[in-house]
Symmetry: C2
Subunit: 128 residues, 2 copies
C-alpha cells in the first residue's frame, strides 16, 4: 500500500489522528493532498516528511522551529546552509539529551537496587 488516510497513518506511526491533523494544519506536511471529498491522502513522499517532522519534534524542536525549517526546504538550494546548521544544532542537542537520559537511567537503576535489597530484607523479617 502506498497511500494512507489519517487513521492508517495514525495506526502505522502510533500517534493520534488529532496530532496528525494538528501538524498538518500548522503547515508541517507540505506534500499532503486531498481526495475529491477533501480527505487527506498521505503518499510515500509525504510519509518521509512526516517522519522527519516527528524526528525533529521528538528531539525537542518546537512547532514554529519545525515550520521554519520546512519553509526553508521549500525555498530551494539557497537555504541549504541554514538547513545544515539547524540539523547540526539539533543533532548536538539530541546528543546532550541522550547523555542526560543515560544519567537518569542510572539514577533509576540505583533506586531499583535500593528497593530490591529492602524487599529482600523484608522477606526474611516477615518469615514466621
Amino acid at each position: 500500500m502506498s497511500q494512507y488516510t489519517v487513521k492508517q497513518l495514525s495506526d502505522k506511526l502510533g500517534i493520534s489522528v488529532h496530532t496528525i491533523r494538528f501538524y498538518d494544519d500548522q503547515g508541517l506536511f507540505p506534500e499532503v493532498s486531498r481526495d475529491h471529498y477533501k480527505n487527506r491522502i498521505f503518499t510515500e513522499e509525504s510519509l518521509s516528511w512526516v517522519n522527519l517532522v516527528l524526528c525533529l519534534r521528538n528531539t525537542g524542536m518546537s512547532i514554529s522551529e519545525i515550520k521554519h525549517y520546512i519553509n526553508l526546504c521549500q525555498e530551494g538550494d539557497s537555504t541549504v546552509h541554514e538547513r545544515y546548521q539547524i540539523i547540526l544544532n539539533q543533532k548536538k542537542k539530541a546528543e546532550e539529551d541522550l547523555k542526560e537520559m543515560q544519567k537518569r537511567l542510572e539514577v533509576l537503576a540505583h533506586k531499583e537496587k535500593y528497593y530490591e535489597t529492602l524487599l529482600a530484607e523484608r522477606v526474611i523479617i516477615d518469615m514466621p
Copy 2:
C-alpha cells in the same frame, strides 16, 4: 552551603524559579520548610527529593503520578512493593526512550551527511 533559597536552587539545577514553586505547590517536595518570612528553604535532604522528582519528570512521568509516588514514600514500609514496581516500570520506559533517541540521532546524523555532500558539491559548482 547546606541551605538554598528558590533562586539558589534555580541556579544550581538550571530550572526556573517558577517551576520550582509550581512543583512545591503541587506537593512534590514534602520536606521543604519556610523561614520566619515564609521563604522556602531547601536543605540537603529536600535537595535529594528535588533531584528524584526531576529525574522522574524528565523521564516522562506526569505531575500526578509523581505526586502519587511521593505520597507512597510518606506512607512508610507498607508501600515499598508498589514503589518498587513504579520505579521498575519507569526504568523500562526510560530504556525504551533511550533506544528511540538513538534512532533519532541516527536520522539526524544521516541528514547531516546528506547536507555535507550537497554543500561540498555546491562549492565546486560555485567556483569561477
